[in-house]
């Protein structure tokens, strides 16, 4: 089981702030592909080469990072603080 969180413009576009997935994808790349496979706006966000950053357990993650049971994955657009 993993928890997936969506932030800022991503949360609004997907109309989803967080969800729990029972099956654990092997990597962040696999998770992105799985989400894109939902079609529609999910495909637009995750498959069309848009810049979507990922964090695993609240640390920036590369695409290929492995996932484990209990992980928290956050997806968000490039940051704009400061």
């Amino acid at each position: 089981m993993i928890r997936v969180l969506y932030f800022a413009s991503l949360r609004e576009r997907l109309a989803c702030s967080d969800e729990t997935l029972e099956a654990v994808p092997a990597t962040v790349t696999d998770l992105r592909a799985q989400l894109a496979g939902r079609g529609g706006i999910w495909h637009e966000v995750f498959a069309d080469g848009q810049r979507v950053l990922a964090a695993v357990n609240q640390e920036m993650a590369g695409a290929g990072q492995a996932l484990q049971d209990g992980d928290e994955v956050g997806f968000f657009p490039p940051v704009t603080g400061g």
Partner: protein
């Protein structure tokens, strides 16, 4: 090193945050502060309010990692990093970066480093409301990426 990092949804009194960074430490010879303010214009439009969102938990970790990285590069005596979330208006401080060191050079460089890294690595997002009532997410800037990347090259 005396470090304080806060994310707050209440007004940021940037000037009041500075003295505690050096008070009582006579070895400190210089304090450099950066105060980021909300502007009333963006991309040619008048902006009336802005809402800052963040990723609670990750934000604090990311800010701490940035301060740790600065402390590994320069000899620092104190760092205070305070960032607003929630609703703000033009002229409101968004962020304060305050760095104290024995000598000014270290403090200047570390202060700029921290704000440059924060701009590209800390999970905050701005949504602005224009004077005409439209709301929009603020886009990230390539110039911010370039500023952060320059520090990577100088490592």
């Amino acid at each position: 090193m005396n470090v304080e990092i806060r994310v707050q949804d209440t007004p940021l009194d940037a000037v009041a945050e500075i003295a505690p960074v050096y008070a009582g430490q006579a070895s400190i010879g210089g304090v450099v502060s950066f105060i980021g303010l909300m502007r009333d214009m963006n991309q040619g439009d008048a902006v009336s309010t802005m809402k800052l969102e963040h990723y609670p938990g990750m934000t604090e970790k990311a800010l701490a990692a940035i301060v740790d990285e600065a402390a590994s590069r320069w000899d620092l005596a104190g760092v205070r990093l305070v960032h607003r979330v929630g609703e703000i208006r033009p002229q409101d401080p968004i962020v304060l970066v305050c760095v104290a060191s024995a000598h000014r050079g270290e403090a200047f460089r570390a202060c700029e480093f921290i704000i440059d890294y924060l701009k590209t690595r800390a999970p905050f997002w701005k949504r602005e409301q224009t004077a005409e009532g439209k709301t929009r997410w603020v886009d990230s800037r390539g110039s911010d990426e370039a500023a952060a990347a320059a520090w990577e090259d100088s490592k």
